[in-house]
C-alpha cells in the first residue's frame, strides 16, 4: 500500500471516528442541561427569560466541543494538509 492510499484511508477513518466519539459527550451533556432547564422553568415560570438565556449560552459552550470535532473532521476530509502534500509532490 503506497503513501497516498494510506493517508486517504487513515484520514477518512479518523474523520468518522472523530465525529462519532466527539459527539457523544456533548449530546449527553446538552440533554442533561436541557432537562435541568425544563425542570427549573416548570418550577419557576417567572424566571423563564433568565433561564432560557443562560441555557442558550451554556448550550453554546457545550456545543463548541462538538463543533471542534466537526471542524477537525471537515479539515481531514476537505482540506487535508498531508493529502495535499502527497498529491502535489
Amino acid at each position: 500500500m503506497d503513501n497516498t492510499s494510506l493517508i486517504g484511508m487513515v484520514s477518512i477513518i479518523t474523520a468518522g471516528l472523530t465525529m462519532a466519539i466527539g459527539t457523544v459527550g456533548p449530546a449527553l451533556a446538552e440533554g442533561k442541561a436541557v432537562v435541568q432547564a425544563m425542570h427549573s422553568i416548570a418550577q419557576q415560570p417567572d424566571e423563564r427569560n433568565t433561564i432560557t438565556r443562560t441555557l442558550f449560552v451554556g448550550l453554546a459552550m457545550i456545543e463548541s466541543t462538538a463543533i471542534y470535532c466537526f471542524v477537525i473532521s471537515m479539515i481531514l476530509i476537505f482540506a487535508n494538509p498531508f493529502w495535499n502534500h502527497v498529491i502535489s509532490r
Binding site: 438565556r53 449560552v57 453554546a60 456545543e63 476537505f78
Partner: protein, 255 residues
C-alpha cells in the same frame, strides 16, 4: 447556483476578481454587501425620523431592534449604563444576523462561514473586553482582577482569555460552515425536499448563533466590568434596598 465548490470549506478560496496584486474573494465582497445594506437601510430610515404618534414602519422596525438589544444587554450587565455597550454588541449582532439570514439568497455565501471573518470578530471582542474594563475601573483595578486570588493564577487568566476568543471564532465558523456543507452534501444525495428542511434549520441556527455571539461578548464585557462593582457593594446603601426587594438586592446593590 452555488459559487462555493464542495471541496472548499471557506469562501476565502473563491476569487471573484483579480487585478495585479489585489484579489477580491467572496468573503470580502459579501462583507461589503452586508455593510452596504446595513448602512443604506439605516441612512434611509433615519433620514426622516418622527417623534409623534405616527411613525413609519421602518422606523418602527429600527426602534424595535434597538430596544430589544438594549433590553438584552441590560439583563446581562445589570447596570443602568447599558447604552455604552450598545454600539459594539449591537453591531456584532446585526452584522452576524444579516450575514446569516441572507443565506436564503442563491449564490450568496455567508462571510461568517469563513474563519478569517469570525476570527476578526472574536479579536474585536478580545480587544474590547479590556478596554471596557479599564474605562470602567481604571488600569490598576482591571489588572488586579487578573491577580486574583493569587499571582499564580495570572497565566491561567490569560490562557482563558485567549482560548475563549478562539472558541468564539470557531463556534461561529463551524456552525455556519456546517450548514452550508450539509445542504450541499444533501443536494447531491436527496435533491428535492430534504435540503429545504435543513436550510430552514440552518437559518434558525444562524439566528441563534448571532444571538449567542453577541450575548457571549456581553457576558465577557460584563465579567470584566463587574468585579469592582461587586466589591463596592457592601458600602452602598444596601439596607434600604434590602427592605424594598429582599430577593433582588444583589442586582440592585451593584449600582
Amino acid at each position: 447556483m452555488d459559487i462555493l465548490p464542495l471541496q472548499d470549506i471557506s469562501p476565502d478560496a473563491v476569487v471573484i476578481w483579480r487585478w495585479g496584486f489585489f484579489s477580491l474573494n467572496a468573503t470580502i465582497l459579501f462583507t461589503w454587501v452586508i455593510m452596504g445594506v446595513l448602512t443604506l437601510i439605516s441612512m434611509v430610515v433615519t433620514r426622516n425620523l418622527s417623534t409623534g404618534i405616527e411613525i413609519s414602519r421602518w422606523q418602527n422596525l429600527l426602534e424595535f431592534m434597538v430596544t430589544g438589544i438594549r433590553n438584552q444587554i441590560r439583563e446581562v450587565c445589570q447596570r443602568e449604563d447599558d447604552y455604552r455597550y450598545l454600539p459594539f454588541v449591537g453591531t456584532l449582532f446585526l452584522f452576524i444576523l444579516v450575514s446569516n439570514v441572507l443565506a436564503i439568497i442563491p449564490g450568496y455565501v455567508p462571510p461568517t462561514g469563513s474563519l478569517s471573518t469570525t476570527m476578526a470578530l472574536a479579536l474585536c471582542v478580545l480587544v474590547a473586553v479590556p478596554l471596557y474594563g479599564i474605562v470602567d475601573q481604571g488600569l490598576r483595578g482591571y489588572i488586579k482582577h487578573y491577580l486574583e486570588p493569587t499571582v499564580f493564577m495570572l497565566p491561567f487568566h490569560i490562557m482563558g482569555e485567549l482560548s475563549r476568543t478562539l472558541a468564539l471564532a470557531i463556534r461561529l465558523f463551524g456552525n455556519i460552515m456546517s450548514e452550508a456543507k450539509i445542504v450541499a452534501i444533501l443536494l447531491a444525495v436527496t435533491p428535492l425536499f430534504f435540503p429545504v428542511i435543513m436550510h430552514v434549520l440552518g437559518l434558525l441556527t444562524g439566528i441563534i448563533q448571532a444571538y449567542i455571539f453577541a450575548i457571549l461578548a456581553m457576558v465577557y464585557i460584563a465579567s470584566a466590568t463587574r468585579a469592582q462593582s461587586e466589591r463596592r457593594q457592601p458600602t452602598t446603601d444596601q439596607n434600604s434596598e434590602e427592605k424594598e426587594q429582599p430577593h433582588n438586592h444583589q442586582q440592585k446593590g451593584e449600582k
